[in-house]
C-alpha cells in the first residue's frame, strides 16, 4: 500500500502475476496462423511470428524440437502449431513456445501425403514382396466402411448378386473426420484377430466412396496405414473413385479402384465358376472316353491276332484222330510189307545210280592214270635217249677228250695257250699239259 492507500505492484510483481495467469489459463494450445519474420540464428532455434488479419504472436521453437519436425515454418505458410503459452519477463512479452507444427490447407495435405508416402516407401512397406495373395474364392470377407452411405450397399449388392459362396462380416466405422483413422485401425485389428466371432477371415475390404482429399484423409493417416501393413489377413483397399490414390492403396495387398470393384474381386460370378466346372467335367469325359476307346481297340486287335482257342482245340482233336487212325492202319495192315520194303530198298540201293557212277568214275580215273604213266614213261625214255646223245656229243667236244687222243696243250708261263712259234723265244720255258700230267719244257728250236 502506498501513502495514498492504493494497492501498488512492482513491474516484476505485475509480470509475475500475468505469467501465472496466462500460463495457468492456457497451458498448451493449438494455434493456427500464417508465418512471417522467420529466422534461425546461430543458436539453431526457430523464431517466427504467427499472424492473422487481426493480431500476431511471437513464436519460438527450440532447436531440439525443430530438428524432429516434419514441417518447417516458412514465411507465407499457413501452419497449425502446438505450443505452450509463456511470458518472457525480461522483455515483458508473451510468446508461444512451439513443440509441434502441422501444415494447414490443401497444399499442406498434399505435402503431408508426399512426406508420409516417401517415409513409408523407404521403410519398404509398399514392396511387392510384402503383398499377400488374395484368395480366388474367399468364403469369409470382412468389410470396413461407413455403416451408412452408398459404399456398403454397393459392396453387398454386388457380392450377393454374383456369388452365394461369400459370407460378409461388416464392421462399420467413421470414414472421415475426427478419430476416423483410429476407428479404421481398430476395425482392422479386430477383424484380423482370429478370436473374433467368425474366426479367421479370408480377406478384408477397407474403403469408402468418393470425396475430396480431406474427406479421404483418414486413409492417408499413419495409424490406419500402419494397421493395414500389419494385418495378417490379406487386405483390399477400396478408397474413393478410380483416380483417387491413397496411401492405404499402396500398402494394401490389392487395390480396387472402387468399393464395387473390390466386391467383384471377392465374389467371382457363380455362372463363371459353374462354366469352369463344366469345362473341366467335359474335359474329363473326353479323356476317359478316349482312353477307353484306345483300350478297347487294343483289346480287339489282340483278340483277332490270337487264334480262337476253341477252334484250335477242335482242329487238334481231329488231327489227333486222323493220325491215330493212320497209325492203326499202318500197324495192322502193313507189317507184312515191312520186310519186302526192306528188300526192295536194298535192291534200290544196289542199283543206285550213285554206286554205278562211283565205279565208272573209278575206272575212268584208273585208265587216265595208266595212260599218264605210259606217256610219262615214254617221255622219260625219249628224254634219256636224247640226254645220252647230247652227252656223247658234249664228250666229243671236251678238250680233255682231245688230249686223250695224244694231243698236248702248250702254255707260256703266264698261262696263255701257245698257238704259234711267234709267241715264244728260244731258251724260254713252256708248260705242256698232257692227258695225264704236265711238263716244263725248254724251247730249243723253232720252225719257222
Amino acid at each position: 500500500m502506498d501513502i495514498a492507500g492504493r494497492k501498488t505492484l512492482t513491474v516484476s510483481e505485475l509480470t509475475a502475476e500475468l505469467k501465472g495467469l496466462l500460463e495457468g489459463r492456457f497451458g498448451s494450445v493449438w494455434v493456427e496462423g500464417e508465418v512471417s519474420n522467420h529466422s534461425v540464428p546461430a543458436s539453431g532455434h526457430n523464431y517466427f511470428t504467427l499472424k492473422d488479419e487481426g493480431a500476431q504472436v511471437r513464436c519460438i521453437m527450440f532447436r531440439h524440437q525443430a530438428m524432429f519436425s516434419k514441417f518447417n515454418p516458412e514465411d507465407g505458410r499457413k501452419l497449425l502449431v502446438h505450443a505452450r503459452v509463456s511470458v518472457y519477463e525480461p522483455r515483458g512479452e508473451y510468446q508461444l513456445v512451439v513443440d509441434r507444427i502441422e501444415p494447414l490447407g490443401v497444399g499442406a495435405l498434399e505435402l503431408a501425403f508426399r512426406e508420409l508416402k516417401e517415409r513409408l516407401a523407404e521403410e519398404g512397406l509398399f514392396d511387392a514382396v510384402r503383398k499377400k495373395p488374395v484368395p480366388e474364392f474367399p468364403r469369409k470377407v470382412g468389410v470396413i466402411t461407413s455403416g451408412t452411405g452408398a459404399a456398403l450397399r454397393d459392396i453387398l449388392n454386388t457380392i450377393m448378386s454374383r456369388s452365394r459362396l461369400v459370407d460378409v462380416l461388416v464392421y462399420p466405422v467413421r470414414v472421415q473426420g475426427k478419430g476416423a483413422a483410429d476407428q479404421i485401425a481398430n476395425a482392422i485389428g479386430a477383424l484380423d484377430d482370429e478370436g473374433n466371432p467368425w474366426g479367421r477371415l479370408d480377406v478384408i475390404v477397407v474403403g469408402r466412396g468418393g470425396g475430396s482429399l480431406e474427406d479421404l484423409w483418414a486413409f492417408n493417416e499413419e495409424i490406419s496405414v500402419r494397421a493395414i501393413a500389419a494385418c495378417r489377413t490379406p487386405v483390399i483397399s477400396a478408397v474413393g473413385h478410380e483416380t483417387d490414390y491413397s496411401i492405404s492403396d499402396f500398402v494394401a495387398d490389392f487395390r480396387a479402384a472402387t468399393p464395387t470393384a473390390a466386391a467383384q474381386r471377392v465374389a467371382p460370378k457363380q455362372s463363371d465358376i459353374l462354366g469352369k466346372l463344366d469345362v473341366l467335367r467335359d474335359a474329363m469325359r473326353a479323356s476317359i472316353i478316349g482312353a477307353l476307346r484306345y483300350g478297347t481297340e487294343r483289346l480287339v486287335g489282340l483278340r483277332r491276332a490270337l487264334p480262337d482257342p476253341l477252334k484250335t482245340m477242335e482242329e487238334r482233336a481231329i488231327r489227333l484222330d486222323e493220325l491215330a487212325a493212320r497209325m492203326e492202319r499202318r500197324l495192322t495192315g502193313e507189317i507184312y510189307l515191312h520186310s519186302e520194303r526192306i528188300g526192295w530198298l536194298g535192291t534200290r540201293l544196289r542199283r543206285a545210280p550213285l554206286i554205278e557212277r562211283i565205279d565208272r568214275r573209278r575206272t575212268v580215273a584208273e585208265d587216265s592214270f595208266r595212260r599218264l604213266e605210259t606217256a610219262a614213261g615214254r617221255r622219260m625214255e625219249d628224254a634219256s635217249a636224247s640226254l645220252s646223245a647230247i652227252g656223247a656229243r658234249l664228250g666229243a667236244l671236251n678238250p680233255l677228250a682231245v688230249l686223250g687222243r695224244g694231243y698236248a696243250v702248250a702254255r707260256r708261263n703266264d698261262g696263255t695257250i701257245i698257238k704259234s712259234t711267234e709267241q715264244v723265244r728260244i731258251g724260254e720255258d713252256v708248260k705242256v699239259t698232257l692227258a695225264k700230267g704236265t711238263l716244263t719244257a725248254l724251247v730249243k728250236n723253232k720252225e719257222p
Partner: protein
C-alpha cells in the same frame, strides 16, 4: 457352429477346385494307365459334383460386428439390402 460350417466349405471348395484341375491335367497328360485313368475320372467327377453342390446350396450370410464393452458380438444386417439375384 457357423464358423465350422464355413471353415469346412472353405476348405472344400477352393481346394476341391484345385484338385479337380489337377486331375484333368493328369488325364489329358496321357501318362496314366487305363485303370488309373478310370480311378482319376471317378475322383474328378466326385469333386465336380461336390463343387456344384456347394455352389447351389450356399446362401450368403451377412452380419455386422459390433463392440459391446470389451466383447464383440454379431448382428444380422438390416434387411434394406436387396435380395440374392440368381444368375
Amino acid at each position: 457352429m457357423a464358423s465350422t460350417r464355413s471353415k469346412k466349405s472353405a476348405l472344400n471348395f477352393e481346394k476341391s477346385l484345385e484338385k479337380l484341375e489337377e486331375i484333368v491335367e493328369r488325364l489329358e497328360d496321357g501318362s496314366l494307365s487305363l485303370e488309373e485313368s478310370i480311378k482319376a475320372f471317378e475322383e474328378g467327377m466326385e469333386l465336380y459334383r461336390r463343387c456344384v453342390d456347394v455352389l447351389e446350396k450356399s446362401r450368403n450370410r451377412v452380419e455386422m460386428l459390433l463392440k459391446r464393452g470389451e466383447e464383440f458380438i454379431t448382428r444380422p444386417l438390416p434387411s434394406d439390402i436387396s435380395e440374392v439375384g440368381d444368375e
